[in-house]
Subunit: 335 residues, 2 copies
């Protein structure tokens, strides 16, 4: 081999090397700037947040969980879904105890009733686990926030929608579950709004539908027989909506305008075929999404800094109500 060839190779290799080093250096500064860009809103995949419900197989929770999962994806953390399979207080307490024992990064819970879970929720908070309530509150507990529907406002919305359907005139009735706080509030919002804002409308009956389609059908039949000129009925929960639709069909009074609650498939089908004029959708995705955001902020100490006296998080988030009619019903079927 000639020396000249070796020197040429040497020069060539050296220039490749220099070029290589140059690009490497550029990439190092790119890494630095990328590292700067990774924000504080970024967790670890082994950081686990748990959603706890009751009657955990219900369709209703699916959109809550979707919101929870979407937030987890944005924040690069993991989630788990747990719940009492039945409508059973003791089962939910047991599930919550099990979840606490595994020390998750945070817990979002929908309380089966306002009092029974308080002690267990407080235990979690005292052990340093962030807890928020969503959908159904336990207002005496130490949980940091509650995210759910303002049921009084939901009743107000139903009243305005009913007035729109009836051109602000005529007799109306309510089918509800009078022993549950959320249903009491929906009824009160509806009744007070009709009374205060629509002088040519009148609520002639508030009946107990017992959260059951058959009992609600019976209640609606009574209303329609006792007050033959009733022109609208508001049911404060989904089974009531199904029951009253059956009553109206059976009595052949399809001119009676019906407003129901929630977005179970059966309800949506009735809206689609025109049997129910409108139903009220709760902001379930927002409940789940902002629950996880709040838990993440608590876990990473990103809440209200520098003034330890401040409330760490908003006390209450009203996740809102959307009116579902034939026009927009297709968007509400589970995907």
């Amino acid at each position: 081999m000639k020396i000249r060839t070796l020197i040429a190779m040497y020069a060539c290799l050296l220039s490749i090397f220099i070029a290589y080093a140059y690009y490497y250096q550029q990439d190092i500064s790119r890494i630095r700037s990328l590292q700067d860009e990774i924000s504080s809103l970024h967790g670890k995949p082994d950081e686990k947040y748990v959603m706890v419900t009751f009657q955990s197989g219900m369709d209703y929770w699916k959109r809550c969980l979707k919101g929870f999962e979407d937030a987890a994806e944005s924040l690069n953390v993991s989630v788990e879904y747990r719940g009492a399979t039945q409508y059973d207080v003791n089962e939910q307490v047991t599930v919550l105890e099990q979840v606490i024992a595994r020390k998750p990064a945070g817990i979002a819970i929908s309380a089966i009733n306002p009092t029974t879970l308080t002690k267990t929720i407080n235990k979690a908070v005292e052990e340093g686990i962030p807890v928020v309530l969503f959908d159904s509150n336990a207002s005496g507990s130490k949980a940091f926030s509650f995210l759910g529907t303002n049921n009084y406002s939901a009743g107000v919305t139903a009243a305005h929608e009913m007035a729109k359907l009836l051109k602000s005139e005529g007799k109306v009735a309510v089918i509800t579950s009078p022993h549950q706080l959320n249903h009491q509030e929906r009824t009160r919002g509806f009744v007070e709004t009709i009374y205060q804002k629509y002088p040519r409308m009148q609520v002639v009956a508030v009946k107990n539908g017992k959260g059951d389609a058959l009992a609600s059908k019976q209640a609606a039949m009574e209303v329609l027989n006792d007050y033959p000129d009733v022109r609208g009925i508001f049911a404060t929960e989904a089974n009531g909506g199904v029951g009253m639709a059956e009553a109206v069909a059976e009595l052949n009074k399809k001119y009676v305008k019906l407003i129901s609650f929630d977005t179970e498939k059966q309800t949506l089908d009735l809206v689609k075929e025109g049997a129910i004029a409108a139903t009220l959708a709760q902001g379930t995705w927002n409940m789940g999404y902002w629950s996880l955001q709040f838990l993440f902020h608590l876990h990473h100490h990103l809440t209200s800094p520098s003034r330890s006296g401040d409330a760490l998080l908003p006390a209450y988030v009203d996740t809102g109500i959307t009116v579902v009619t034939r026009d927009n019903v297709d968007h509400f079927y589970a995907k």
Copy 2:
């Protein structure tokens, strides 16, 4: 130069080169994984969000802006603070028009009154600019959410605090601004709670303090002269608090328990020296922080996906109230 030396150099250079290439390759995969970690909650520094207030120099806004800025830092975006310098409706409309003209990524606005800004706010929304309201609502507008104090709840909290101070017994009074909705609600929450929950307490007077220290002092003097056995006064705004403290000092009735509102420096000083027993701090940091989070989510279409019918954001966020007493007052001075 000997060929052997050249070959040795060549081998040496080659091995450095190989080592270099190996590390480079490792860094490339590090870059890839870093890029994966940059979440969707990450904006661009030229993405500008604007906070718009009135009486923009007021201390009150500082914590709102701090929350707004802290969220901007987390989300890697920019913020700007604008506002009417005076308590002037037209000036705020003009400022808002100017802000809209520059097409920012989002606007958080505290409305000087509930109606006058509605048209301009709607214009922004129709042009595709996300808008949320904080602190003071314009409820008829197309803004996507409102984040602020639940004033009725604040009055309820004041009533419970007063009951604690007076051991649930004795006559009390309120000094308020009876023509402003937020003050009406604070008064109503206070009066209704005393009436419903504390049978041995009584609200004997509700006076107009005109939002002014001197007028409030006068009102408090009248109360204390007309009802010599009054044992507590709740002022629904900061100047009222200062005025009633002066009245109590002048009449040498320091046993009368005073509860004020907000955390102006003068109020905090009075709490610190014991002249005012408690004041109610609003969740101003949370107003600013979650306003920016909401605007960011709207701008980046991260709200309620896949069901276009859902409400994009929670309708209302109650940012909560914290009771400030001598024990925790130090945390509330502006830092």
